[in-house]
């Protein structure tokens, strides 16, 4: 029974390093399972754990590490803005539907980003999509640019306003999650350092 004690130390560490990054995903899937069943009986608990492990093993995804520690205050502010954005964006679109219909105006705007990191750019793009009047058309990951389809865009002042809105979303993401995460792809790492400081 004490065979595991005799294993070489290094091998144990290697396994821990392989398994550890996937634990958050297993925990999340397990929690999801419990919530969906709405009970914590022994059968649901063990079944959920088995399913979670099976799913993580079957669909091997790279472990996503945020790299930075999320700041609680920033995250709360982000969520509050998310909710208000949801309401205002629905109202904006509804007004466009009712008032302008087929004659609505739009534009595609380029927005250069300061943040670097897959997770952060994803967050900015996602939150921009929730925000009023903006829809991300194209993400240029390497050059860190978003191309945003802005729905009511009557003139140049509208375009400037939309761009500043996306930058505001980015600022809030930075306040919540930090400017740069560690999980950037290997090919962009050096380049990002060269360009990161440009305003």
């Amino acid at each position: 029974m004490t065979r595991t004690d005799g294993l070489p130390n290094r091998r144990g560490h290697g396994r821990a390093r392989r398994v550890f990054p996937h634990l958050p995903m297993v925990a999340w899937l397990w929690l999801l399972w419990l919530l969906l069943w709405g009970s914590t009986s022994a059968l649901v608990l063990t079944g959920g754990l088995l399913v979670a492990v099976a799913v993580v093993l079957a669909f091997r995804l790279p472990a996503v590490r945020p790299g930075t520690v999320p700041r609680p205050l920033g995250v709360v502010r982000l969520l509050i803005h998310l909710l208000t954005d949801l309401v205002t964006s629905a109202l904006t679109v509804a007004w466009q539907v009712v008032r302008h219909g087929g004659r609505t105006t739009s534009a595609i705007i380029e927005v250069p980003l300061d943040v670097d990191g897959d997770l952060l750019i994803t967050a900015v793009a996602e939150l921009t999509n929730v925000g009023p009047g903006n829809l991300v058309t194209e993400i240029d990951r390497r050059r860190r640019r978003l191309y945003v389809h802005a729905l009511p865009a009557g003139g140049p002042q509208d375009i400037a306003r939309r761009r500043s809105e996306v930058k505001a979303v980015e600022r809030r993401v930075v306040q919540a999650l930090g400017r740069r995460s560690e999980d950037t792809g290997g090919d962009t790492g050096g380049e990002a350092d060269d360009r990161g400081r440009n305003p």
Binding site: L32, L35, L36, G38, L82, L86, V87, S89, A90, T92, V93, A94, Q96, V97, V98, G101, G102, T104, T105, S106, A107, I108, I109, E110, A125, E126, L127, N129, V130, P132, G133, L135, V136, T137, E138, I139, D140, R142, R143, Y147, H149, L151, A153, G154, G155, D158, I159, G190, E191
Partner: protein, 156 residues
């Protein structure tokens, strides 16, 4: 107390339903795929959320987590799908370009020598359908050009 709750639910349900209706109306009235995505993604999401809150008021608290999950996944997935559809629409002429005030993505692609749209927007629809495959190639060319430019940047 139940009357108050019923009124809250009624208001939220009706509000949510009207946002869903407006979203559907937007799908009909807006001129192109990209604009329609706005209606589908935004008005619809808020409509669903209002209905979920209205339902949560009526139901026993231990069902609230499930409603929360529905809301969470709606918020996570709707923006992502609309981004993917929008990207595809842009590359396959799901966009009425003459209605755009400005198109900085096309400007960039043109600047790199591989415009997404070569023909004017007044050509008829069948013609444009025929072009679709060709334009996808153009998009790939654009990415290649981008690669080249990035390589140059890296050298500098």
């Amino acid at each position: 107390m139940t009357v108050v709750l019923d009124v809250i639910t009624a208001v939220l349900f009706l509000g949510g339903a009207s946002f869903c209706l407006l979203g559907a109306l937007g799908l009909l009235r807006f001129p192109d795929t990209m604009s329609r995505l706005h209606a589908a993604a935004k008005a619809q999401t808020l409509g669903l959320l209002l209905i979920l809150v209205g339902a949560a008021v009526q139901m026993s608290p231990n069902l609230a987590p499930v409603l929360l999950l529905v809301a969470l996944f709606q918020l996570l997935t709707a923006p992502i799908t609309s981004q993917i559809i929008g990207r595809t629409a842009y590359r396959t002429h799901g966009l009425e370009r003459h209605l755009l005030l400005r198109d900085e993505l096309a400007d960039r692609l043109e600047h790199e020598g591989s415009p997404v749209h070569r023909r004017t927007d007044h050509s008829d629809r069948r013609e444009r359908d025929d072009e679709d495959t060709e334009d996808t190639e153009d998009a790939e060319d654009a990415e290649d050009a981008e690669d080249a430019e990035d390589a140059e940047d890296a050298e500098r």
